[in-house]
C-alpha cells in the first residue's frame, strides 16, 4: 500500500506552508502539461499540416482539406481531456473507497458493465439520444459496481484487493464477450461502435461533448465534496468512525460520484482501462495522499495522459490510427504488474 497508514506527525505552520507551495506547483505543472498537449493534439495528426493552415483552420476558414482536418481535431481533443480527467478521478475515488491499490474502473469491470448496457440499449432498444445513452451507461456501471463488490466481498476477509480484482477482471471478461456477441452480427453498426470494445475518442462530436459536460460536472463535484471523507476512510473504518466520519455514507456518496464519472465517460468513449489505475498512483507520489489535492491533480494528469495517448495513436500508425484504449493498456498494464509485485502476498 501507499503509506496511507503511517500516522502523520503534527505539522507546524512552516511545514504546512511548504507542501502547499509544492502542491500548487504540481497543479500548475499539470495545467501546463495539458495545455501543451492540447496544442500538440491540434497540430499533429494523421495528416501533416503547416502552422499557417492550423491558424487558418482555427480562425474559421475551413476551405482546404488541411484546415478541415485541424478543425476536426478539436472535438476529439476536448473529449480526450474530459474522458481522461473523469476516468482518473473515478479511479482515485475507487481506490479510496475500496482501499484497494488495484482499483480502476476498467479492472473492476465497471466500464465493462457500462459498455454492455450501452451496446444492448443501442442494439435492442434503439437508443440514440445522448442523455438516454448516458443514463443507460451509468445504470450499467452502477449495476456492475454493485455486482463486483458483492461477489468480491463474499466469504472470509470481506472485499480483499485480490478477491475484488479477480471478481472485476472476471466480470470484465464476461461483459466484453457479451459485448462481442451483441455487436458481431451488426456489421453495419460495428464500424461506428467498434470503440465500445476497445475504447477511443475518434467518434467525438460537439453534441456528445456538450451532453457529457454537465454529467461529468456533477460527478466531479460529488467526488470533490467527499474528498475530506476519503482521507478519513484511508485510516481504516474503525478509526474513521471514531473520528466522527459516517463511513457508510461517505463510501456510498463517493462511489456514486465515481460511477457517474466512469459511466458517462464510457458512454461516449467506450471502455478505457488503466487510466484510473496509473494516474492516481503517479499523483500520490507527487502530491501526497490528501484527496483534496489528489483528485484535482489526478484529473489534470488523466486529461494529459489521454490527450497524449490520442496524439501518439494518431502519429505512429499513419495512415490509420490506434484507439487510445490500446495505448493506455500498453502503458498501464506494466504499471499494474509493478503494483502487484510490490504487494506482499498476505495483503493480496
Amino acid at each position: 500500500m501507499i503509506d496511507q497508514h503511517t500516522p502523520a506527525p503534527l505539522p507546524d505552520a512552516a511545514a504546512l506552508r511548504r507542501p502547499a507551495a509544492v502542491r500548487l506547483a504540481w497543479i500548475g505543472a499539470g495545467i501546463g502539461a495539458v495545455a501543451l498537449l492540447v496544442v500538440a493534439s491540434v497540430a499533429f495528426g494523421v495528416r501533416d499540416v503547416s502552422i499557417d493552415e492550423i491558424l487558418r483552420g482555427l480562425s474559421g476558414d475551413t476551405g482546404g482539406i488541411a484546415e478541415a482536418a485541424v478543425v476536426a481535431r478539436i472535438p476529439r481533443t476536448v473529449l480526450a481531456m474530459l474522458v481522461g480527467a473523469a476516468l482518473a478521478m473515478s479511479g482515485a475515488t475507487m481506490q479510496a473507497v475500496t482501499r484497494n491499490p488495484l482499483a480502476d474502473p476498467g479492472i473492476l469491470g465497471v466500464s465493462g458493465g457500462a459498455s454492455l448496457a450501452v451496446v444492448i440499449g443501442i442494439a435492442f432498444f434503439g437508443l440514440s439520444a445522448p442523455y438516454s445513452v448516458m443514463g443507460v451507461a451509468i445504470a450499467g456501471a452502477a449495476g456492475a459496481a454493485v455486482f463486483v463488490y458483492a461477489v468480491g466481498s463474499l466469504g472470509r476477509g470481506g472485499a480483499t484487493p485480490l478477491k475484488l480484482t479477480l471478481a472485476g477482471a472476471a466480470s470484465s471478461a464476461a461483459f466484453m464477450s457479451l459485448v462481442s456477441a451483441v455487436l458481431l452480427p451488426r456489421v453495419d453498426v460495428l464500424e461506428t461502435f467498434r470503440f465500445w470494445q476497445i475504447g477511443g475518442v475518434g467518434g467525438a462530436t460537439w453534441d456528445r461533448i456538450i451532453a457529457l459536460l454537465p454529467v461529468l460536472g456533477i460527478g466531479a463535484i460529488i467526488c470533490l465534496a467527499t474528498a475530506r471523507g476519503m482521507n478519513s476512510l484511508a485510516l481504516g473504518d474503525d478509526l474513521a468512525a471514531g473520528l466522527g466520519e459516517n463511513v457508510a455514507r461517505t463510501r456510498l456518496v463517493s462511489s456514486i460520484g465515481a460511477i457517474v464519472l466512469c459511466g458517462a465517460a464510457t458512454a461516449v468513449a467506450g471502455p478505457i482501462a488503466f487510466v484510473g489505475l496509473v494516474i492516481p498512483h503517479l499523483c500520490r507520489l507527487l502530491i501526497g495522499t490528501d484527496h483534496r489535492w489528489l483528485l484535482p491533480l489526478s484529473a489534470l494528469a488523466g486529461a494529459a495522459l489521454l490527450v497524449a495517448a490520442d496524439v501518439v495513436g494518431r502519429v505512429i500508425a499513419r495512415p490509420s490510427e490506434i484507439e487510445v484504449g490500446i495505448i493506455t493498456a500498453l502503458i498501464g498494464a506494466p504499471v499494474f504488474i509493478w503494483i502487484v509485485r510490490r504487494q506482499r502476498v498476505r495483503e493480496l
Binding site: 488495484l102 461477489v151 468480491g152 463474499l154 466469504g155 472470509r156 485480490l162 478477491k163 480484482t165 479477480l166 471478481a167 477482471a169 472476471a170 466480470s171 471478461a173 464476461a174 461483459f175 464477450s177 457479451l178 462481442s180 456477441a181 458481431l184 452480427p185 456489421v187 460495428l190 476497445i198 482501462a273 488503466f274 500508425a317 490509420s320 490506434i322 484507439e323 484504449g325 490500446i326 495505448i327 493498456a329 500498453l330 498501464g332 498494464a333 506494466p334 499494474f336 504488474i337 502487484v340 509485485r341 504487494q343 506482499r344 502476498v345 493480496l348
Partner: protein
C-alpha cells in the same frame, strides 16, 4: 477406512471414470458426425463415409472433404488441446482461474501468431512455431515476474491478467494496422473461430496432440502428487522440477499450436477442467476427461454458432457467452466456500 473399503472406492471411481470417458467419446462422435453432415446441403452418412474413404462424390467431395472435415477435425483437436492444457495449469496451480487463457499465455500465442501472419507473412507451420515461441516466452515472463519473495499462485494470476491485457491490446493494434483484413478474420484472433480451417492449418494441431497427449497423460499420477504441494510430491518420489517443466512445456505447446490454427477460443481452456472435475468426481485424474470435454465444447459451440441463429457466429463468441457466466458462478462458489482463490 479398511482396505476393502479403499479398494471398493477405487473400483467405484475407476468405473465412473470409464463410464464418463465412454459417454464423452460417444457424444463427441455424434457431434463430429453432425458437423460433417449438416450445412447448407445435407449429406447422408453414406456419402460422408465415401468421402472419408477417398471416393469422389459430386459436391460432397469438396464441401465435406475440403470444408467440413478440416473444420470438424480442427474443432475436435483444438478443443482437446485447450482442455488438456487448461486442466494441467489449473491442477498444478490448484486454482481454476489459473487457466492459460486467463493468465495471458493464450494471448502470448495469439500476439506472436498475428505478428507472424500480418507483419512477416509466414506460412502455417512457421506461424505455429512463432505462436509456440510467444506462448513459451509469456509463460516464462509470468513465472519470473510472479516469483519474487516466495512464489504465490494468487500473485501469478493477477500478473497474468495484466500481461494478458497488454498482449491483447498488442493483438488489437496489429489487427488495426492490417486494414485489408475483414472482420471475420480479425474476429478469429480476438475470440477464436474455425472459419479459415484448412488441412494445412489442422495438421500441426493433430500432430502435436498425437505426440504430446500420451506424454501428458502418462504424467497423470505425478500431476496428482504435485497437487499435494511440492514437498509432499518430492516425498512421494516425484521428481518435482522435471515433472513441472515437462507438464508446462507440453501444455504450452498444445495450447500454442491450437491457438495458431483456431485463435484463442474463449474460455475453453478455462471451462473444460472444472466441468470435467465435476463429472468424474474429485480425486480422479482430470486430464483426459478435460480434453474430451474441451473437444465436445468446441464442436457443440461451433454447431450452435453456425446454425442456431440467423447470423453465423464464430465459435469463440458462443464459448465466450457460455463461459462468462460459468466464470462468475465459479468465482461466487469459491468465494462463498471461503477458499482462498
Amino acid at each position: 477406512m479398511s482396505a476393502p473399503q479403499i479398494i471398493a472406492g477405487r473400483r467405484h471411481r475407476q468405473r465412473r471414470h470409464a463410464l464418463v470417458t465412454g459417454v464423452l467419446v460417444l457424444l463427441i462422435a455424434v457431434a463430429y458426425a453432425v458437423t460433417l453432415m449438416v450445412g447448407k446441403t445435407f449429406y447422408s452418412p453414406a456419402e460422408v463415409l465415401a468421402v472419408i474413404f477417398g471416393d469422389t462424390v459430386p459436391g460432397a467431395s469438396f464441401t465435406v472433404g475440403e470444408l467440413r472435415l478440416p473444420r470438424a477435425t480442427l474443432a475436435l483437436f483444438a478443443g482437446f488441446a485447450f482442455g488438456i492444457a487448461g486442466a494441467t495449469f489449473q491442477t498444478m496451480l490448484r486454482n481454476p482461474l489459473a487457466s492459460p487463457d486467463i493468465i495471458g499465455i493464450s494471448s502470448g500465442a495469439s500476439a506472436a501468431a498475428v505478428f507472424g501472419i500480418i507483419v512477416l507473412s509466414l506460412d502455417e507451420t512457421a506461424v505455429s512455431l512463432m505462436a509456440l515461441g510467444g506462448a513459451l516466452l509469456t509463460a516464462a515472463a509470468i513465472y519470473l515476474l510472479s516469483n519474487r519473495g516466495g512464489f504465490a499462485g494468487t500473485r501469478l494470476i493477477l500478473i497474468g491478467i495484466g500481461v494478458a491485457a497488454m498482449l491483447d491490446s498488442a493483438v488489437t493494434y496489429v489487427l488495426s494496422r492490417a486494414a485489408a483484413w475483414d472482420l471475420q478474420t480479425a474476429m478469429q484472433w480476438l475470440t477464436g473461430s474455425l472459419n479459415g480451417a484448412t488441412w494445412a492449418s489442422v495438421l500441426p494441431v493433430v500432430l502435436s496432440c498425437a505426440l504430446l497427449a500420451p506424454v501428458m497423460l502418462s504424467q497423470n499420477r505425478n500431476l496428482g502428487a504435485l497437487r499435494l504441494g511440492d514437498d509432499s510430491a518430492a516425498a512421494l518420489g516425484v521428481n518435482v522440477r522435471r515433472t513441472r517443466v515437462l507438464l508446462i512445456v507440453g501444455a504450452v505447446t498444445l495450447l500454442a499450436f491450437a491457438t495458431a490454427a483456431a485463435g484463442p477460443i474463449a474460455f475453453v481452456a478455462f471451462m473444460a477442467g472444472p466441468i470435467a472435475a465435476r463429472i468424474v468426481g474429485a480425486g480422479a485424474s482430470p486430464l483426459l476427461p478435460a480434453g474430451l470435454v474441451g473437444a465436445l465444447l468446441v464442436l457443440v459451440a461451433d454447431l450452435i454458432g453456425q446454425f442456431a441463429f440467423d447470423n453465423r457466429y464464430p465459435v469463440g463468441v458462443v464459448t465466450g457467452v457460455l463461459g462468462a457466466p460459468y466464470l462468475i458462478y465459479l468465482l461466487i462458489r469459491t468465494n462463498r466456500s471461503g477458499g482462498s482463490l
